[in-house]
């Protein structure tokens, strides 16, 4: 059972790391601010989701697992709202320029 849980963790966390890599590559390569914002919002959020998913089998109790999910939910909520704010700021900068 332990082996099964551990391999699930390794798989999910590795997949999460790949999306953090992709998010950073997108930040480096995408040509404009809004495209970079896509990379940041979508790839990194999925990366965090996969890391949390992978850590769930390692949680020492159901309360710890629930806490991990809560942290993920809050990060997701804050991320979605902040993305909207940044997008509006980019648009304002483009209009001023």
């Amino acid at each position: 059972m332990r082996v099964l849980f551990d391999s699930f963790t390794v798989l999910a966390v590795s997949a999460g790391a790949v999306f953090f890599l992709a998010g950073t590559v997108g930040l480096l390569r995408f040509p404009d601010s809004l495209s970079r914002l896509h990379a940041l919002t979508k790839a990194d959020n999925l990366g965090l989701g996969l890391v949390v998913l992978g850590l769930l089998p390692q949680a020492t109790g159901p309360l710890v697992a629930l806490k991990l999910i809560t942290v993920w939910l809050l990060a997701q909520l804050a991320g979605a709202i902040v993305t909207q704010l940044v997008a509006r700021a980019v648009r304002r900068e483009n209009q001023e320029a």
Partner: protein, 171 residues
């Protein structure tokens, strides 16, 4: 951004009380999950829950949103698949040596009227594959940034909005 910090006058006080009780219960659960259970924490927990409930009632008075539990469940079940598709789409484009991007703007006429429910939909849409609402045009339509303007973004947004509107609407 102008937010009044006065206690909201709900249409009837029973509505306000029901809203306050539900939210206080929700914040109690959140406290238990985040801080764990300990009797010594009780005063701090009471202050935190009361404060959170008050602020929440000020910012979103009860009755402002009509929420359908079944609709929210459907939205929540749909979300993980969409988030994975969005992440895979961005990752594929970023890691492809040819960098297949056709960034540009499309306008989308939302069925949701301007208001907090529409803002919520915009926040959700920014997590969906390829779309990123950046603001409202003068004629009330949404300006949406797309990673690939060849994709059917408007149809996708319309489908997403239909699911969202069954979950949350301005009351």
């Amino acid at each position: 951004m102008a937010t009044s910090w006065r206690m909201p006058m709900a249409t009837d006080s029973r509505n306000l009380l029901a809203g306050a009780t539900t939210r206080a219960a929700g914040f109690c659960v959140l406290w238990l999950v985040l801080a764990g259970y300990s009797l010594g924490d009780l005063p701090a927990a009471a202050v935190a829950v009361a404060g959170a409930t008050f602020v929440s009632l000020c910012l979103l008075p009860p009755g402002r949103w009509r929420v359908s539990p079944l609709g929210v469940a459907r939205l929540a079940l749909r979300f993980p698949g969409q988030a994975v598709m969005a992440g895979v789409d961005v990752a594929r484009r970023a890691l492809d040596p040819r960098l297949p991007l056709r960034p540009g703007f499309v306008t989308y006429a939302p069925r949701l009227p301007p208001g907090s429910a529409r803002d919520g939909f915009c926040a959700l849409a920014s997590l969906m594959p390829g779309t990123l609402p950046v603001g409202t045009n003068e004629d009330g339509t949404l300006l949406v940034h797309c990673l690939d303007i060849g994709q059917p973004a408007a149809a996708q947004l319309a489908a997403e909005e239909a699911v969202f509107m069954r979950a949350v609407r301005d009351g």
